[in-house]
Amino acid sequence: MDFEPKILGIACNWCTYTGADLAGTTRLQYPQNVRVVRVMCSSRINPSFIFRALQLGADGVLVGGCHPGDCHYNTGNLYARRRLATTKKILEFAGIEPGRFRVEWISASEGNRFAEVVEEFTTQVKNLGPQTKLKIQE
């Protein structure tokens, strides 16, 4: 059977979540591996959310925020960029495939971009196979 990865998406309310809705209203089709948590801003994302998601068995984590400069809260995503970049480096040095974690800026008007990113990322994670390193073994 084909491996269908479980991917956790964390999307900011104003841009990426709205963009994801737009993908729906325009009836774009994309893989259903990403399960989205809505937060108000990408800056809400605590790095430990990412670690925890992987521990919970997520094969990949996709974070979506507004384009830099377009943050609903002015500068939230600029902080998020630094904090999440650092998170990514930490995961990488711990030996976790960097391809399992991705941050994308997707605006409210970029429904197609959302679908595209989900498609791409799903394929990428699929190719990496199941994430077993951090996953808590019951």
């Binding site: 956790l8 104003w14 993908a23 399960r35 948590v37 108000m40 925890r52 377009d70 002015n74 902080y79």
Partner: protein, 649 residues
């Protein structure tokens, strides 16, 4: 232990087509703490809402999960529903299985499986939700309107007539906007000035409107009900309090600048009013073309001014206004067509863009309303090229919507004012509007040649120097046409104002792919934006004609009124708070907050958050190393629990 009710919506077949809704409800019923789970055709309908309310009472529910469309769609609706049933509105969780699931898959297996995971996440999260109390704030009763075109004017007048104080900011030295440049309006061909100038005058006279021309918004602080807006008054070098509008200065002035108002077709003085009916009727000095500012001497205007109104030392000034709501109506620019070299704009003098032509028709324009070419001759043959940059993936993908109709208007005016042959090169004629198709029919009868084929190239004629050749395929006959003309009119794409990005940033507006301001929802909230209390009207939202613009202006005025008419309003309760017992005093929150909501209490060595300033982004909560900051409704526990639920299945 919670008592959770789960309500799964079919949304007709929208959801039910790709999610087995009854199976989803059955699944929900197996989850711990779920005491009732149902599915229903339209949960947002009255029977659906009543079902939820009935169950809240019957099963003593303390959490409600609605599994339906996006929370951006109906979260507010369902919050009201549960609140009316006596439950705190924040105990609602929406699971989005329409926009982000049923509409984006065809596979019912996949759809049902993912819906279960999403629902499970919601159950995990719902258990940890806490009732929250909305904040009540005072509302400032005044409104700011940005942009003094027809949309801004109409909105300002409507508001002012209700007794609301309005600040109308316009960056040019006169209000009126693009509409004031036109001669006639389609399809009725009534005179643009006859409609507009009385309104402009009404703005000037209205005691409730404070007009701020030659001004720009430079800073926006605060939030709905309480905006603090800084406005820059650019230096006019003319004291408008003293000036009596005799305009003697403009006659004497030796300076020559390019008339922006006439789209660069003619020169104007350095001290000028853009056009005779300008409001206010008072001149400004353009530094760039003023002899005094260029050479250091002249001051002729000062000499002739009896009122001593000329002030070369004038500086730009900044003032702050407090308002409860804002209407943004900043209009549009035309796309620059020079990069489309095949059409020869800027290369051949016979090629015009549509706004230039508007000025040619206008009796107050550079030719006094006569249609003449740049060399003064009357054109014998004219081609109108539609969709220049519009409907074009290489430039603007959108349809600019008004070009078909104004091209018809142009054709009529050309026919009226000249004896020229008129060709329309079009892809599709779009005449959807009241009286528009009739107008199209009228023009066909006026013997305008309609060529179905986009103009491919404009070149100069080798046979008749000075004439132009329009090349295109007439797709109806598959013939390659070479049409010799004297004048080519391009209908360029309508694009957002060059500085619209800056404005979007100031007001926190989202923009669409082209840069037009995004409405919160195209149908449910077409004039509202993602920023509470900021509304949009007119072409800054998307290209539209004058009737639609005016209608939007009325609508935006009504929207703004709904806010400022009350003296108090409720704000979202989803703000952040500090648990002082866990605060380590690192002050990260203080450092990062864009709204200065957190501050450090030096005595207690802990941070505190001013909830009136907090907008609930949650940044402080994520930079707090000790998790002392609780981002209400998005707490760490809630997010972690939701993640756990999402990953279980």
């Amino acid at each position: 232990m919670s008592r959770i009710g789960v309500f799964v919506c079919h949304c007709g077949l929208n959801i039910a087509k790709t999610v087995r809704v009854s199976e989803l409800a059955e699944f929900a019923a197996t989850l711990p703490d779920v005491v009732v789970a149902r599915d229903y055709k339209f949960m947002c309908s009255t029977p659906g809402q009543e079902m939820i309310q009935r169950d809240i009472k019957e099963y003593k529910l303390d959490r409600v999960i609605v599994t339906a469309c996006s929370p951006l769609m109906h979260e507010k609706t369902f919050r009201k529903v549960i609140e009316n049933a006596g439950l705190n509105q924040y105990l609602l969780t929406i699971v989005n299985i329409r926009e982000q699931l049923s509409w984006v898959t065809h596979d019912i297996e996949e759809g049902t499986a993912k819906a279960k995971a999403l629902l499970n996440g919601a159950v995990y999260r719902a258990r940890l939700l806490a009732p929250l109390t909305s904040r009540v704030i005072d509302v400032n009763p005044d409104v700011l309107v940005v942009g003094g075109g027809i949309a801004g004017i109409q909105a300002a007048l409507e508001l002012a007539n209700t007794g609301t104080k309005v600040y109308l900011v316009e960056k040019n030295s006169t209000i009126g906007g693009h509409m004031a440049q036109f001669d006639k309006t389609f399809p009725t061909l009534d005179c643009s000035a006859c409609i507009l100038t009385p309104k402009m005058d009404a703005v000037l006279q209205h005691k409730n409107i404070q007009m701020l021309t030659y001004s720009e918004v430079t800073e926006v602080k605060g939030y709905v009900g309480n905006f603090d807006i800084t406005i820059k008054q650019k230096a006019r070098y003319v004291d408008h309090n003293k000036c009596n509008a005799c305009l003697a200065c403009t006659e004497k002035c030796p300076g020559k600048g390019v008339s922006e108002w006439d789209e660069g077709l003619v020169k104007r003085k350095a001290i000028y009013i853009p056009f005779p009916q300008a409001v206010p009727q008072k001149p400004v000095i353009d530094r760039e073309s003023c002899t005094y500012f260029i050479k250091g001497k002249c001051k002729l205007c000062q000499k002739v001014c009896e009122q001593k109104a000329i002030d070369f030392e004038q500086q730009e000034t900044f003032s702050t206004v407090k308002v409860g709501a804002v209407i943004v109506a900043t209009g549009y620019d035309l796309m620059d067509t020079k990069p489309l070299v095949q059409y020869g704009y800027g290369q051949y003098p016979g090629v015009y863009h549509s706004l230039e032509v508007e000025r040619l028709f206008n009796s107050a324009g550079p030719t006094g309303g006569k249609v003449t070419l740049r060399d003064g001759k009357e054109p014998q043959s004219i081609a109108l090229l539609h969709c220049i940059g519009s409907r074009d993936k290489n430039y603007c993908e959108h349809c600019s919507r008004v070009c078909c109709m104004y091209s018809l208007k142009f054709a009529h005016l050309f026919k009226e004012k000249t004896s020229a042959d008129v060709y329309q090169f079009y892809i599709d004629m779009r005449a959807a509007g009241k009286g528009y198709e009739e107008f199209y029919n009228r023009l066909i009868e006026e013997d305008v040649k309609f060529i179905r084929g986009k103009g491919a190239r404009v070149t100069d004629s080798e046979e008749e120097p000075g004439r132009l050749i329009v090349e295109a395929e007439d797709t109806l006959t598959s013939k390659f046409l070479r049409v010799p003309v004297d004048m080519v009119v391009l209908c360029p794409a309508i694009v957002p104002r060059a500085d619209s990005k800056d404005l979007a940033r100031l007001f926190n507006l989202s923009t669409d792919k082209q840069g037009f301001f995004m409405e919160r929802h195209p149908k449910l909230a077409p004039l509202a934006t993602m920023t509470e209390g900021v509304f949009i009207a007119g072409v800054c939202q998307s290209p539209k004609d004058i009737p639609d613009t005016v209608a939007q202006a009325y609508g935006a005025a009504a929207e703004a009124l709904t806010i400022v008419v009350k003296d108090k309003m409720e704000l979202d309760a989803t703000t952040a708070m500090v648990n002082p017992a866990s605060c380590c005093g690192c002050q990260n929150c203080v450092r990062v907050c864009p709204y200065s909501a957190p501050s450090f209490n030096v005595d207690k060595r802990v941070s505190e958050i001013n909830e009136a300033l907090c907008k609930g982004c949650g940044l402080c909560a994520s930079v707090c190393p000790t998790s002392a900051i609780i981002a209400r409704h998005f707490t760490n526990e809630q997010v972690l629990a939701e993640m756990e639920g999402l990953m279980e299945f």
